[in-house]
């Protein structure tokens, strides 16, 4: 190829880039971008699954003792939960009877959007997951992203037509209104710490909290329902002159290994 022809092709590549950005800014490419994301989603789901499997497979020999410890802790927790379930069933029956007496309408279960995780933290130093659902599927900014039956792992941070990015609870930018599930319903703000852990801040010094207390969403944000599980208090940090204390929270699930999430729709 002659140098002139090569220069012309490089110019075309640069011009194509400029035109793409220009047309994107005008909104002309929205349909095409959504189509590309939808087309790539199945391939990316397979690649993501393979990446997660490889990580688990490579890490397995190093985590045997941790898994055994966790297994023991889970067994103990399960025994305690069996008792709690029995007590809650009793209360549920009582609640149903009282609703019937008061003619109180039963709560309708909300709609849920299920999304696959396509990628994890595309930009280094941030803790986000890319989801294969976007505004076309009814998602809105700041909606909670959950795993299981109601464990919050993050919130929708950036939204496109066919995809969205969720900011994980461990990201330093993440903020969620939270409360401790005790009699006092102590309120605070849960935020991430360098992608490694989650902290609950702004807890007044006079509030009594204990290790093992359950932390849930407070419902103070319009799109985040009350009662989504954030984790359990793992440690409490108090400084003499600070009017607030900080609690370290242990999420019930690993935020590095999420495959499918649920987003409650309004």
């Amino acid at each position: 190829m002659t140098p002139a022809a090569r220069s012309r092709l490089i110019f075309i590549a640069v011009a194509t880039g400029v035109l793409l950005i220009f047309f994107h800014a005008l909104g002309v490419l929205r349909g095409a971008e959504a189509a590309v994301m939808r087309g790539l989603a199945p391939i990316e789901t397979v690649l993501s699954g393979a990446g997660r499997s490889l990580k688990r497979w490579v890490g397995a020999p190093f985590s045997v003792s941790a898994i055994m410890q966790e297994n023991e802790a889970v067994k103990n927790e399960r025994d305690g939960l069996l008792v709690q379930i029995a007590q809650l069933r009793e209360k549920e029956d009582e609640n149903a009877r009282l609703r019937e007496i008061l003619k109180f309408p039963a709560r309708q279960p909300g709609r849920i959007a299920v999304a696959h995780v396509l990628a994890s933290a595309p930009e280094a130093g941030t803790h986000t997951i890319l989801l294969d659902k976007g505004s076309d599927d009814g998602l809105l900014l700041d909606m909670p992203v959950m795993v299981g039956d109601g464990i919050i792992v993050g919130k929708i941070f950036k939204l496109d037509k066919a995809s969205s990015l969720a900011l994980l609870l461990t990201d330093t930018r993440s903020r969620v209104g939270a409360m401790i599930h005790d009699a006092a319903k102590t309120q605070g703000v849960v935020q991430g710490k360098r992608g490694l852990s989650v902290e609950m801040r702004l807890i007044p010094q006079n509030e009594v909290i204990n290790e093992g207390d359950l932390v849930v969403t407070s419902g103070i944000e319009p799109l985040v329902p009350r009662g989504l599980v954030i984790g359990r208090v793992q440690g409490i940090e108090t400084q003499e002159r600070d009017p607030f204390k900080t609690a370290t929270i242990r999420p019930p699930t690993s935020l590095d290994d999420i495959e499918v999430v649920a987003i409650p729709l309004p």
């Binding site: 590549a13 990580k55 595309p122 930009e123 280094a124 330093t172």
Partner: protein, 173 residues
């Protein structure tokens, strides 16, 4: 033919980085395949291949990333321009250190573009993406620059060794 092969390789490897490498343990998530490819293309004096990579990878990263469509394309083209300028004006040879420096410079330019974008977001009253209350993005950038530099050096050395090995057998190796 070569052009489409390059285009497909750029698309496939960028998707691999986004969907596969991002789930692996460190340092894999810090690898930027486009930066490494652009560096190797600059070293091989193939600016067209580098431009194809910048356009394709920038477009795909823009569709998937936090910064939205545009900043990734601009960042990769600027990284290409910076690496090209560095290779013809400052670096005397194509040694391992030179290749490492080129890849690290490319990573630095990309990070600088994102930081400027973040600064503009702050000035416009929006939440920044990278600038936070801790130094994690800066540490990740430094790690990324080192990892990309080492990967570029490793791949370049491997390519040279393979070429030397095949030269005795094939005419165009």
């Amino acid at each position: 033919m070569w052009f489409f092969f390059n285009l497909m390789a750029a698309a496939a490897l960028t998707i691999l980085q986004i969907a596969f490498f991002s789930h692996l343990p460190p340092p894999f998530p810090d690898i930027s395949i486009p930066i490494v490819a652009i560096t190797l293309a600059v070293v091989a004096e193939a600016p067209l291949a580098a431009a194809v990579w910048a356009l394709t990878a920038g477009t795909l990263e823009g569709l998937h990333g936090l910064f939205g469509f545009g900043p990734d394309i601009v960042a990769l083209f600027l990284a290409l321009a910076a690496e090209h300028a560095l290779s013809i004006r400052f670096l005397a040879n194509r040694s391992r250190l030179a290749i490492f420096l080129l890849a690290a410079a490319g990573s630095t330019v990309v990070f600088a573009v994102f930081l400027i974008g973040d600064g503009l977001r702050i000035l416009s009253g929006y939440t920044p993406y990278l600038i936070a209350q801790d130094a994690e993005p800066f540490v990740a950038f430094l790690l990324g620059a080192v990892v990309n530099g080492l990967l570029a050096v490793g791949l370049s050395t491997l390519a040279s060794a393979v070429r030397r090995r095949l030269r005795g057998t094939f005419l165009y190796a």
